[in-house]
Symmetry: C2
Subunit: 104 residues, 2 copies
DNA sequence: TTGGAAAATTAGAGTATGTTAATATGCTGT
DNA sequence: ACAGCATATTAACATACTCTAATTTTCCAA
């Protein structure tokens, strides 16, 4: 093996963690939720309107993001507000925007 | 709707493209290949040894990454060499390393 | 041109994901 | 306690993924 592996190497646990997070983010609706949220928070209803699908569907997607600690939630009266919980995830989303969004 | 959506807004096509790319990268073996490659290139055999699974399995994962234009390939004699084709993808992988890898 | 290494393809089975529709839970105001 | 809105959960079905094992293709060397 004459070449150099792992110039950007990573431990296998890091790989696993990253892959799980990416997988959770790699659904169009979930990614839209994350990009739409940005630094703000929004209620489930707000998100339903923004994304444009059923309440049940959104709730399930939010559950996935919450379970993976990508979103944090806060209950206020009748409503539940979601926000991006981890600043590192926020950073990653910004990077993805730089890579994939043409808006300069 | 009293809050601000889309501080990091993105067009739906951008979201779709990004989600597809993320999905392709969000498998542990594929992510390991990408992180292992970095700026270098490697033959299929090298990758098989590095990742540690069957040739068939690696070839299928490489095919997925190639189809999504995440990897480019080059044939030399008997072997096929793969590398990260898109500098933007390279940038994204670096960002992910910053976010997920503890190595400082 | 034949043998063998390197890589790709195919088929099949098992598992996971995503959607819809229906139902349940929880909270608020009265 | 009750009515009604907001959110979560469940079940069922369809689709997509992933792995293994077997086979095929491609290329080089003798």
């Amino acid at each position: 093996m004459h070449f150099e592996f792992s110039p950007i190497a990573a431990r296998d646990d890091d790989i696993e963690r990253a892959a799980k997070a990416l997988k959770a983010m790699s659904h169009p609706l979930r990614l839209k939720i994350l990009c739409g949220l940005g630094e703000n928070e929004a209620s489930v209803q707000d998100i339903v309107e923004y994304v444009g699908t059923s309440q049940s569907n959104i709730s399930q997607h939010l559950g996935i993001l919450r379970d993976k600690d990508i979103l944090a939630s806060r209950k206020e009266a009748n409503r539940v507000y979601y926000r991006i919980g981890d600043p590192r995830i926020m950073h990653l989303i910004s990077s993805m925007q730089e890579v994939f969004c043409s808006s300069d």
